[in-house]
């Protein structure tokens, strides 16, 4: 029986190396086909008519003009007369036509009348909210008493704007029915298996008759777990017309209705004793991510204090609804906590690095990891030589340093894998997972190749189809642990199954065989090693098949990481423009399978973090409640010139590797904003408490005009 472990450090063929993603070339050359690229014979285009009001009741719908248009094949009412609409850009009617242009004209010809109702889109003004929902305070110890007697106190108000996911490939899909009962959906989704079940249920066919296919997808960040209304509408239109239908969201729809990260506003008071130990925390937060308001951010974040209290108010707004955004609630909690603690360090007259180290035991079980990471980060940033107390800079452009800590779980999800070994030496993994662009395909190939002791190019990965062995949704940093565990177990089982089949043909025992470096070895030395291809020829016409699952026997993955990030920024004191000079990210995630993919994940996170720290926010018009910047001119994403130098260090070796694989999708995107805000505060000498840190807000802080 196989032993379900990862190979020891000295025995690793691929694990931990810098291996480039396997689908890089097909993506760079445009050969990779995304959902948007799928075009079927006789296909129709569907365009959805959106509601221009943030809150309204539909009073009439007239589709006759659209239906009469040449080329319009079907008009489908999504939400009928009488429905109360809760956000602008919500979908009311879909028009399917022979071309995208005709579908647009058709959509424009649909006449919908509304009774306009009053809307609320500015949750920052919580006092004006018609429906604010305060929750009970959660309290440990006696924060008020601890606060009263502490020598060092600090307080501040911190604000994180609502942002959108803004996936470069918008949401959408192509649907095509094979017969009355069977449909294929080429979808841009993070969850092929889940979408198949959801669509089956909503459209009234067995889930097994829904084939979802996602080979490549252009970003989801948590916003693409569901079949969504447009997925159901697309399949329905395809059914009604008997033709394939493509329905992809436009950019304005993508940004306004297909994903939002809730805002967080918080008022925090903290206190420390004379030695710089934090003794009390008191926070009140509120925020919104649309009609459902927003759940509380985990405050205080990373740290737990003996005396702490937190109270949150959820504020429903008439804005496009929230969806999970990488590490839900964590980036907001990180900004609030790390800014508040930096302020307290300042009040205590301490370097925040010393202050965080002083209080590091309050982070719990990851404390020693944080210490190692802070030391490594300090070295890479030159923190000890370069940090100066807040506001010591002079001149027009001032630089400063800041740091932040984060944490995440990242345990592998449920996953199933089948491994097939063929007599031509090819080894194949079949797995119903999807590659979001994070490198999942490469990870599966690498684990399979590692286990068979062959080159990564010698294995094949078949994935991205819901008919394959079911695997969980790709979200919450659960994928790498899930697919690597399932693949490793299936591959180990497959190696055993191969041995079982070929040992008799070689006149030896299974236990005498071993696969290493592309060769079949005989442990007793009775025969010379033979190349894998030669050994595989003995498999015969029927391939060997074995399966594996996660979770399963043996400990191949774990949960729980802690990382640190440091920022070096410059602030132009006259314009409020913040420039990133350098970011340092030090991250653990257990056993690293592919160092290049892991580092890329952190680079990408830093870029995304710089973006939400400096430029990204959803802006709503007070009059109409429409999003004013639902396009990419004013919904500003950072460009390569904005991101500065990025230094990434992954923690590896003893203490890390033996934990097994842990996910990395969320952790590194949590702390950049907080580190940058702390650095901007250190540089300017005034608290920079709002994200995004636009010139407008930074100048307001510098001029003392901050709310």
């Amino acid at each position: 029986m196989a032993e379900y472990v990862w190979p020891a450090a000295g025995d690793r063929l691929h694990i931990g190396k810098h291996i480039s993603r396997l689908d890089g070339p097909v993506k760079a050359t445009g050969r990779a086909k995304y959902a948007y690229d799928v075009n079927r014979r006789g296909m129709l285009w569907a365009i959805m008519v959106q509601c221009p009001h943030a809150h309204a009741r539909i009073t009439s719908i007239d589709t006759s003009a659209a239906e009469a248009m040449d080329g319009v094949v079907r008009v489908h009412v999504i939400q009928d007369v009488g429905t109360e609409i809760q956000w602008a850009h919500d979908e009311i009617v879909a028009v399917a036509a022979t071309s995208e242009e005709v579908a647009r004209d058709g959509a424009a010809a649909v006449k919908i009348e509304y009774e306009v109702l009053s809307h609320f889109v500015n949750e920052r003004a919580v006092d004006e909210a018609p429906d604010a929902q305060p929750a009970q305070a959660e309290t440990t110890g006696d924060p008020a008493a601890a606060m009263a007697s502490a020598p060092t106190k600090s307080s501040g108000a911190y604000h994180v704007a609502q942002i959108a996911h803004c996936s470069l490939e918008s949401h959408g899909q192509v649907a095509e029915w094979q017969d009355e009962e069977t449909v294929t959906l080429w979808a841009s989704t993070q969850a092929i298996s889940g979408v198949a079940s959801q669509l089956g249920e909503q459209i009234g066919i067995p889930a097994s008759n829904v084939h979802v296919e996602t080979q490549y997808m252009g970003g989801g960040f948590g916003s693409k777990f569901s079949v969504d209304r447009w997925g159901v509408v697309c399949a329905q239109l395809a059914k009604d017309t008997g033709r394939p239908v493509k329905l992809m969201l436009d950019r304005d729809q993508e940004v306004s209705v297909a994903g939002a990260r809730p805002s967080t506003h918080a008022e925090v008071s903290t206190a420390a004793d004379a030695d710089g130990n934090v003794v009390a925390w008191d926070s009140k937060s509120w925020g919104s991510g649309g009609p459902a308001g927003a759940n509380s951010p985990p405050l205080p974040y990373v740290f737990s204090f003996d005396n702490q209290t937190h109270m949150h108010t959820s504020v429903p707004t008439n804005t496009g609804p929230a969806r999970a955004w990488r590490a839900p609630r964590h980036p907001q909690a990180c900004l609030v906590t790390m800014r508040a603690l930096e302020d307290l360090a300042h009040a205590a007259g301490m370097d925040p690095l010393d202050f965080f180290l002083k209080n590091i035991e309050k982070t719990g079980e990851r404390a020693s990891t944080y210490v190692e990471e802070l030391e490594k980060g300090a070295e890479l940033m030159g923190w000890r030589d370069r940090w100066r107390p807040r506001g010591s800079g002079t001149g027009t452009v001032r630089s400063g340093l800041g740091l932040a800590l984060h944490t995440w779980g990242g345990r592998g999800h449920r996953s199933n894998c089948e491994v097939l070994a063929y007599r031509d030496g090819l080894v194949e993994a079949r797995i119903g997972s999807q590659d979001l662009g994070t490198g999942t395909r490469t990870i599966i190939a690498l684990v399979l190749a590692e286990t068979f002791g062959v080159a990564v190019e010698q294995v094949k990965v078949t994935m991205g189809r819901s008919v394959l062995p079911a695997s969980g949704a790709s979200g919450g940093s659960t994928t790498v642990g899930g697919v690597s565990g399932a693949t490793r177990r299936a591959a180990l089982n497959a190696v055993d199954a191969v041995f079982e089949r070929i040992a008799p043909r070689l006149g030896t025992e299974m236990a005498n065989l071993e696969l290493r470096n592309g060769q079949l070895h005989f442990k007793d030395g009775s025969m010379a090693a033979m190349p894998w291809r030669q050994a595989a020829a003995l498999i015969g016409v029927n391939p060997v098949s074995a399966t594996g699952a996660n979770p399963g026997p043996g400990q191949l993955n774990d949960s729980g990481v802690g990382g640190i990030q440091m920022a070096d920024v410059s602030v132009d004191m006259e314009t409020g423009v913040v420039s990133i000079n350098r970011m340092v990210a030090v991250q653990d995630c257990g056993l690293i399978l592919d160092m290049k993919l892991a580092e890329s994940q952190v680079y990408g996170s830093l870029i995304m973090g710089v973006t939400y720290a400096l430029t990204e926010e959803r802006v709503f018009d007070p009059h109409t409640g429409q999003m004013l910047n639902a396009e990419m001119e004013f919904y500003k994403l950072a460009g390569i010139e904005d991101v500065g130098e990025m230094i990434v260090h992954m923690m590896t070796g003893p203490g890390y590797d033996e934990r097994g694989v842990i996910g990395l999708g969320e952790p590194p995107v949590i702390a950049p904003g907080a580190a940058i805000a702390n650095a901007a505060t250190n540089a300017t000498g005034v608290p920079i408490n709002e994200m995004p840190m636009t010139p407008e807000r930074v100048l307001a802080a510098i001029n003392g005009g901050m709310a």
């Binding site: 423009v577 802006v619 007070p622 109409t624 001119e633 460009g639 100048l699």
Partner: protein, 314 residues
Amino acid sequence: MRAFEYSSPRTTEDAIRLLSAEGAVALAGGTDLLSLMKDGAAAPSRLVNLKAIPDLTGAHETDGGLHIGATTRLGPLGEHRVIRESFPAVAQAIAGVRSRQVLSMRTVGGDLLQRPRCWYFRAGFGLVPMHDGQSMAKTGDNRYHAIFGNAGDAVFVNPSSLAPPLIALGASATVLGPDGERTVAVEDLYRTPASSDESEFTLGAAEIVTGVTIPMRSSSNATYEIRNRKGFDWPLAAASVAVSDGGARVVLGHAAPTPWMSAAAAGALAGGISEASAEAAGDAAVADAAALSGNGYKIQLARVAVKRAALAAM
């Protein structure tokens, strides 16, 4: 997007004739016009491409100064020897466009005549959007809107990158139409509309800009732009300064519905550029600025842009 005819004349006469038809619109680089059409904010029935007219492209020295054809692309123009040596204000404005793709399509005429970026205008509410009888932008979110010339309902800002340096350098534009050719100062191409039915340009029906001429007067000149992002982004504030024996000119961009000439700032620089006079010019430039509800920070940015443009010209 509405179906349209496309014509690509070879002469200006043909272009004017084609543009005289109802709903016809001139097409230069298309980087603005095509997005307006896709957004439904423009729906021309005919596009008249100006780029195939040989007379309209290229820059050359004439007795009157450096003449630049209307369809000259900004990329090559930024490399032009005279621009680099004598008119850094223009070269710096071009360098501020961080997109290679846009630089290789965007033309001088299209830059001067691009439509405002106001988010109400782009969303289809019109250039002077009104809500319940009030200016929608004034009572709405106006963080990117005007700090000068905003007493009326129109509070969008002129987005042209080239207008501030060209006006500072005293450039003129040649305008050709059914009634013949006329020459106007570049600043006279612009006006502030009272309602969304009016144009923000002074061009008559079927008139086009055929080129601009920068007088070969020796001056210290520079442009300074402030943007949120370093990459592709429109400036939050921009200023061009030119100081010559004949006097000083200071022009602000992204500040008012038209490129905004500041006589007070120019006055501060009339005696030459120094640290002190640059500072004074910045202060003078914004002395009569008026913030809307959400754009007070732009006054500070305009002040700094003028000061830094002056220092860069020093």
